[in-house]
């Protein structure tokens, strides 16, 4: 389906914006309908965005769109097949960082997701950070107590002390 004049303008605008920034450019459309379909379309070698049937949907008019870009196509009102009902809701052009190579190589190195650090990650660091260290083999060297409290003797001040807190029992 040939893009309507409206679409072409928008796309061109979007691509203008995309060329200025290396990352995503977002251009909101004026249509307020609900999105009913989405497709991610890679830019083919002849510089056109094709749907899954191979028809050219949009041609990249602006030469600044780099190969390897892909377009996120959202449409409203109708399936992919019924082209007549297709209308572009929003265009989101994603372009890659580097210039050469195919889609995969042009992407930057994958950043490791920021998952919360678990207690078992980096166990060696934890041991060093611990204020009261474990005795080797859990045996207190002075009193030869096995399995006793860590650190200095808790009853040395007359109460039961641990990490500055007095435990009452």
């Amino acid at each position: 389906m040939k893009p309507t004049g409206f679409l072409t303008t928008e796309l061109r605008e979007c691509m203008n914006v995309a060329s200025e920034y290396d990352h995503t450019a977002f251009h909101g459309a004026s249509i307020n309908d609900d999105v009913t379909g989405v497709a991610l379309l890679p830019l083919s070698s002849d510089g056109a965005f094709r749907d899954r049937f191979g028809s050219v949907l949009l041609a990249a008019r602006n030469g600044n769109v780099r190969p390897g870009s892909s377009l996120l196509f959202c449409w409203t009102g109708g399936s992919e097949q019924s082209e007549a009902k297709k209308s572009l809701f929003t265009v989101w052009a994603r372009s890659t960082g580097s210039s050469a190579g195919g889609a995969a190589k042009d992407r930057g190195p994958l950043k490791k997701a920021h998952t919360p650090r678990g207690r078992l990650d980096h166990p060696d660091e934890e041991e060093h950070r611990e204020v009261v260290q474990r005795f080797p083999d859990d045996v207190n060297p002075e009193t030869k107590e096995k399995g006793g409290p860590r650190g200095p003797e808790p009853t040395r001040y007359g109460d039961w002390e641990r990490k500055g807190r007095c435990i009452d029992f």
Binding site: K144, E145, Y157, K163, G164, R165, C166
Partner: protein
């Protein structure tokens, strides 16, 4: 039921409340039972297998689903004592229910990180009679010597039993349980030096105890009713016939009928503003017993620690002051120099607590409300702090939000144990004192911190509390097993028993006054902290009693917000507040009445201990004071739940041990260390 409610509330008010209830119900819930039929979710408990005797009844309420259960024994509370009693009973073959408002391993026992005392004799030669002597002396001769005899004699067996259950005590090189020296324990009746009796499990004895007992209890088929808030005892003809509880999860009421009820609900630290106890230590058992018309014993004896972190309630070790830390007031003055010119900050705990309280009362407290003092450590070299007190900077940062090397820590005297509670004999049976004679209340038992056996008397020694839990938990189970057999028919119970509890619950659920639960609770806590804390004189206590009376009356004007029935924490907190208020008024009134200083109860206007003889001089030639003129007696307090009026009575201390040949009783003497 209507007649009863009319008597209680008056006809017009009843009409209002009934209309309100109906309006609310119809507006919000339709008919509850209808809703329950419609909903696909089952009750929290399932009626299958053993529990097929549970049946829905409408004897006391048509608004709330009420379920009746029959058991041989019910244990209320699942801390150290409750679990020990519950599985002791299951082991003996009784069909036992354990009703608890918290999951068993979340009870406050888990915070008791120290150790258990027992005269095992692993480090040096030891004898349980010397432990007996130490405990009697520690209690300032207010402890019942037969109960103390029982506890100290059973101690080695109890610790070995725990060890056999799998509790990983720390060991010596030979593989015996390692015992360390801890507070107040001596050899040869005080003449042989420090005794080593405290057995521990690394730094977490209480935690380990609780988990061991819970794990062991799963071997037996105790029915656990977790997150069921026990409301009241079901009493008939002066006998206890069960417990009524609210299931917090779905709002249903459950009546547990049983021939034997064991109360192990813990202490009531939350009556004070600053306490180490969990938010759930609200003295539920004590108040259930009070509402049943029975007395609580020795409520004025509350143990304080001088340096607890303001707001958090954790205690700072005395080692801070031992290493050079000082206490300062709002003027930056080291005020201990005025109160104890020689010892200064190293004075004994009660002197320090009293000095801090006086400073706060006289307006030299710190902070926006001027209600605490500062413990300063930043004048000490940080290296010294880190080596001598490792972990203190972490503690101060986590709990007080201060950097110990730059700012002082806000501290104030903090409650950490309640010696008072439900009076029992050495077997764990609850007793009532009528006409000068102790009588057992049939069907009711108590153990743990909720009970006052009384092994701790006026002052509890460290490491005896965990021992108390296991010994008396087991004692309750043994007493029940001795006197009853499983599967006995239950005594008859009226169909409408427990309706006052439901009426009260309903009243609180729809309460629409003007003060919130949290405001009333804070008022009570602040009043108790300023008037019934360490520093006690007649005028301050009287002022406190009057304030508590008005706060008690303000409970009529309470406002709750959550009108629901499923997991209504507003309602549960309000019920807990009712329980706390009953404990608080008993504490402060008993303290006002006791005109002497003994153990943890120290008064400025009566600094001496007043016994039947003056034990600082030889007894020969002295006139014995009559019972009402001396104070070596237990205080019993009764409360009228509606008006909040406290009536006091006294009962003599038991001075003979269980077996005079095996263990001679210790005659009173002056307590000095």
């Amino acid at each position: 039921m209507l007649q009863h409610l009319v008597k209680k509330h008056g006809p017009v008010r009843l009409l209002e409340s009934v209309t309100e209830v109906l309006q609310h119900s119809s507006r919000h819930f339709g008919s509850l039972q209808e809703k329950m039929r419609r909903s696909s979710r089952n009750f929290h408990f399932s009626i299958y297998g053993k529990r097929d005797n549970a049946k829905v009844s409408d004897g006391i309420s048509t608004q709330y689903p009420v379920v009746d259960h029959d058991f041989d024994a019910v244990v209320v509370g699942a801390g150290g004592a409750g679990l020990r009693a519950a599985f002791g009973l299951s082991e003996a073959g009784f069909n036992t229910a354990c009703v608890t408002k918290l999951f068993p391993t979340r009870s406050h026992t888990v915070a008791a990180q120290g150790g258990i005392n027992a005269a095992l004799g692993n480090m040096e030669e030891d004898d349980w009679r010397w432990h007996f002597y130490d405990t009697v002396k520690g209690s300032d001769w207010l402890g019942d010597q037969d109960a103390i005899h029982y506890m100290t004699e059973q101690a080695p067996a109890a610790v070995v039993e725990l060890e056999n259950f799998g509790m990983p005590f720390s060991r010596t090189e030979d593989g015996k349980i390692y015992q360390r020296a801890f507070g107040g324990q001596s050899l040869k009746f005080g003449k042989g030096g420090q005794a080593h009796r405290c057995c521990c499990v690394a730094d977490r004895t209480g935690h380990s105890l609780l988990h061991t007992l819970y794990g062991r209890s799963l071997r037996y088929d105790t029915s656990y009713f977790v997150e069921y808030f026990a409301l009241d005892l079901l009493m008939e003809d002066g006998e206890c016939r069960g417990v009524i509880a609210l299931c917090m999860e779905d709002g249903s009421i459950h009546r547990f009928r049983a021939k034997n009820t064991v109360i192990a609900t813990g202490g009531y630290g939350r009556t004070y503003f600053s306490c180490t106890s969990a938010h759930t230590s609200t003295g539920d058992g004590n108040s259930m017993v009070t509402r049943a018309g029975l007395a609580c014993q020795d409520m004025e004896f509350v143990q304080f620690h001088p340096t607890g972190i303001y707001g958090a309630g954790c205690l700072i070790t005395e080692g801070c002051r031992g290493e050079g830390g000082i206490l300062i007031n709002s003027e930056g003055e080291r005020f201990m120099e005025r109160y104890a010119p020689n010892a200064k900050d190293l004075a004994s705990r009660d002197v320090v607590s009293r000095s801090m309280t006086i400073e706060i009362r006289e307006g030299r407290g710190c902070g926006p409300e001027k209600d605490h003092v500062y413990l300063q450590l930043h004048h000490l070299p940080p290296q010294q702090l880190a080596t001598r007190l490792p972990g203190i900077s972490e503690t101060a940062m986590i709990f007080a939000g201060v950097d110990v090397t730059k700012e002082p820590i806000p501290v104030l005297p903090t409650v950490h144990y309640n010696m008072g509670g439900i009076p029992t004999n050495f077997k764990g049976q609850v007793i009532s004192h009528k006409d000068g004679v102790d009588k057992v209340v049939p069907g009711l038992y108590a153990c743990g911190e909720a009970a006052s056996a009384s092994v701790h008397g006026a002052n509890r020694l460290g490491a005896n509390s965990l021992l108390d839990l296991v010994v008396f938990g087991r004692a309750c189970a043994l007493t029940i097993a001795e006197n009853f057999t499983p599967g006995e028919t239950l005594p008859p119970l009226k169909a409408d028993v427990g309706e006052e509890s439901v009426a009260n619950l309903d009243k609180l659920r729809f309460a629409n006054g003007s003060t919130r639960t949290s405001e009333i609770r804070l008022n009570m806590q602040k009043t108790m902290q300023s008037n019934a804390a360490v520093f006690r004189t007649g005028s301050i206590l009287k002022e406190g009693c009057d304030k508590m009376d008005s706060i008690y009356r303000s409970m009529d004007d309470i406002k709750t917000f959550d009108r629901g029935i499923v997991w209504n924490t507003d309602l549960v907190e309000t019920l807990e507040l009712q329980n706390l208020m009953l404990n608080a008024v008993q504490t402060i009134q008993s303290a006002l009445a006791r005109k002497e200083s003994r153990g943890a109860h120290a008064r400025e206007d009566y600094k001496e201990r007043i016994d039947e003889y003056d034990y600082s001089k030889p007894i020969q030639g002295q006139q014995k004071k009559p019972f009402d003129e001396h104070w070596r007696k237990h205080s019993l307090s009764y409360v009228d739940a509606i008006s909040g009026k406290v009536t006091l009575d006294y009962r003599p201390v038991i001075d003979n041990s269980l077996n005079e040949e095996k263990c001679a009783a210790i005659p009173p003497a002056i307590r000095s260390y």
